[in-house]
């Protein structure tokens, strides 16, 4: 079966397979930053990534995976796609929605940033815009303010509906994922600001590196193969990465590409503890693309820095140590 899979990948990675010209990294990073992939609800993002990578497939866990080369010595490079967010917990009879945090870590900063902002709900009939209610400043004048800082437990989402039936007719209901409406902002000479901008830009860099490797047959050293994976539910105990370790390992080496706090665009490399949990990953190095204002709606990274990450990843896929 594995051999068949390698044969399939070998076929699709041949130069005969047409591949559209590589998108430029800024445009690809911007495109991914516009998308939403709340933990557990990443499949639209995975669809997009599979569309960008000839030969990529969805595994049972929901990760996007493409295998380069056909050797027995396997290496893994993975980028997480999940992001913190929320799901609809209840639809009130009057049409307002209340929320539950999606599983995994959700920073208080992420919660605060949705108050009084436009959000997008992903219903069964597509995206539905809404807003998170906030007290009208005029009506607070001269009155005591209630409660402490905003948390999602006190959030009401307003999609304009006046009844639960209207909400249901739009395809929205309990479990519909929700996140801040994405509006990536390019500023300065080469900066990109967006929720999880570091992670999205790091994944864009990996997409481009993988596309180069797919287009350039023979980049992976003889006797080796490289599994490129875009993994789900990273913030839910790394479930997607764990599935790759258990079903595709053992690996001689793993690189986990992600965003992280730091100077925008700077790439830091450090050992990662995932190796302890999943020994099949082999030694794991985390390559973090630095981002300013991490875990906020304006997490900012440098696209020039991401260009150098693409180069480094391409070299790593090609066997450079």
């Amino acid at each position: 079966m594995v051999a068949l899979a390698f044969l399939f990948v070998g076929l699709v990675s041949s130069p005969a397979v047409a591949q559209r010209p590589d998108p430029a990294l800024p445009e690809l990073a911007d495109r991914l930053a516009h998308m939403t992939a709340v933990t557990g609800y990443e499949q639209r993002m995975i669809d997009t990534l599979i569309g960008l990578l000839p030969g990529a497939m969805r595994d049972r866990a929901g990760n996007a995976v493409v295998v380069l080369g056909a050797g027995d010595r396997r290496r893994l490079v993975a980028c997480p796609v999940s992001e913190p967010g929320f799901i609809v917990g209840r639809v009130r009879e009057d049409g307002w929605l209340t929320l539950r945090r999606a599983p995994g870590r959700v920073s208080p900063l992420v919660e605060r940033q949705i108050e009084g902002q436009r959000v997008t709900l992903f219903g069964r009939r597509g995206a539905v815009p809404g807003v998170v209610a906030v007290r009208s400043v005029h009506l607070t004048r001269g009155r005591g303010t209630a409660g402490g800082p905003f948390t999602v437990d006190s959030a009401y989402v307003d999609v304009g509906a006046s009844s639960a039936a209207e909400v249901a007719a739009a395809g929205v209901g309990v479990l519909s994922p929700l996140a801040l409406a994405k509006r990536p902002q390019r500023y300065g000479s080469d900066l990109l600001a967006a929720p999880v901008a570091g992670r999205r830009t790091a994944c864009a860099a990996l997409v481009l590196a993988a596309r180069r490797a797919i287009a350039e047959q023979g980049m992976v050293p003889r006797g080796e193969s490289v599994v490129v994976a875009f993994v789900i539910e990273q913030d839910l105990d790394g479930r997607g990465l764990g599935a790759i370790a258990r079903t595709r390992g053992p690996f001689a080496q793993t690189v986990l590409v992600d965003g992280g706090p730091g100077s925008p665009g700077a790439v830091t490399r450090a050992p990662d503890s995932a190796a302890i949990r999943w020994p099949a990953l082999g030694p794991v190095a985390r390559w973090s693309l630095g981002a300013r204002y991490p875990a906020t709606a304006v997490e900012t990274t440098s696209l020039a820095g991401a260009d150098s990450l693409t180069t480094a990843l391409t070299r790593w896929i090609g066997g450079a140590r």
């Binding site: 009057d94 049409g95 307002w96 900063l109 605060r112 940033q113 108050e115 009084g116 902002q117 436009r118 539905v128 815009p129 809404g130 807003v131 998170v132 209610a133 906030v134 007290r135 009208s136 400043v137 005029h138 009506l139 004048r141 001269g142 009155r143 009401y156 307003d158 999609v159 304009g160 509906a161 006046s162 209207e166 909400v167 739009a170 509006r183 902002q185 390019r186 500023y187 300065g188 000479s189 900066l191 600001a193 204002y293 906020t296 709606a297 304006v298 900012t300």
Partner: protein
């Protein structure tokens, strides 16, 4: 026969349309254009120009020295004035730091925390510069009670000279990107519905009213600097003195129509029509005028709610000249936030009510 039909079509159909609610597509188009135009108090030029472009071809407007836009129709007394404001809340640049970031000061009353950690746009004489509102540093000392945290804007530079080279200076204004977005149930969200809805209502009324039916002078004023103290309206009031018989501020009715609000006053549900803003922090409408307005709305079958809310209105600036202020609003949720929310049926009804008052009161 065809000629007769054509003549009937040209002369009768427009009259049939007079007094009708503007079609939803027209409301969308006018309101969307105005909402997506930026104009912090004192820098309303782009909004004023947008209003001028949206007015019908016959409209001859003037701009006074304060920056208010005037459209005068009809002739003779009494003079009735309608005022909607062009400006929106936002920030002005107070200082530029050595690290190139901007220190921004609020223009108008709102929760600055709703802007922190969001994209920013700095408006300069040379164009718009993108940036971000710097997220509040949770590790920093909390601001003193009763004071707002300092709001900073990062435009991607690392020193003051780099920021100044972008055309940014003290007094440049700062907003955040905004979009007019339709929601379910004929509702919409955006930022600066206060008071682009009022401005839209005046534009739509100008487009649809029958000038031949005006029995007196009607003045539409799109005012400036409302959010920082009704300054434009004060200039207009001084220019007109005691001449107006009435003034109608066309401005937000901040509604308690939300699960977060106390509903002991200010509850004007969305979708149930414009609201006679009979009492707020700046004016009290004489009860007889409220009754007259309600009677007019009833006679035209225009829904009207009556209520009390908080805030001030431009019409109150005419008070010191003895001019009765009969403000009219539309229900707004989440006032002065990036996520203001309205019902478009209220906007259409408001435009119709303005036209009805101009023609019939």
């Amino acid at each position: 026969m065809r000629g007769v039909l054509l003549c009937l079509a040209v002369t009768v159909i427009p009259r049939l349309l007079v007094g009708q609610a503007p079609p939803p597509a027209e409301v969308d188009s006018v309101l969307g254009t105005l909402v997506e135009t930026h104009g912090v108090s004192g820098m309303e030029g782009p909004v004023r120009e947008a209003v001028q472009r949206l007015l019908p071809g016959w409209a001859r407007t003037t701009t006074d020295t304060a920056g208010n836009l005037w459209l005068t129709m009809g002739q003779g007394e009494p003079t009735v004035v309608f005022v909607a404001h062009l400006d929106e809340i936002g920030f002005t640049v107070k200082a530029i730091g050595d690290d190139g970031t901007l220190e921004a000061e609020a223009a108008g009353g709102f929760f600055p925390t709703l802007w922190e950690g969001q994209p920013a746009l700095v408006h300069t004489g040379r164009g718009t510069v993108p940036g971000v509102f710097v997220p509040h540093d949770t590790a920093a000392p909390a601001p003193a009670p009763g004071t707002d945290p300092v709001v900073r804007v990062d435009v991607g530079t690392t020193e003051r000279a780099g920021t100044e080279a972008l055309g940014i200076g003290i007094g440049s204004t700062v907003t955040s990107p905004k979009r007019y977005v339709r929601l379910l149930g004929g509702r919409a969200t955006g930022r600066s519905f206060d008071d682009r809805v009022g401005s839209t209502a005046l534009v739509l009324a100008a487009r649809h009213l029958d000038r031949a039916r005006l029995r007196h002078t009607v003045i539409f004023i799109w005012s400036v600097r409302e959010e920082i103290g009704l300054e434009g309206a004060a200039a207009a009031a001084a220019a007109l003195g005691p001449r107006p018989a009435r003034v109608h501020a066309i401005d937000t009715f901040v509604s308690a129509d939300s699960p977060l609000e106390r509903t002991n006053f200010g509850l004007a549900p969305l979708g149930r029509g414009p609201v006679a803003r009979a009492l707020d922090n700046s004016s009290v409408t004489p009860p007889a005028y409220v009754d007259s307005l309600a009677a007019l709305a009833r006679s035209r079958r225009i829904p009207l709610q009556v209520g009390a809310t908080n805030g001030g209105n431009d019409g109150s600036a005419f008070g010191e000249w003895g001019v009765p202020d009969v403000p009219i609003g539309w229900p707004l949720r989440y006032s002065h936030s990036p996520a203001e929310l309205i019902d478009l049926r209220d906007v259409a009804a408001l435009a119709r009510l303005v036209g009805a008052i101009a023609e019939g009161w």
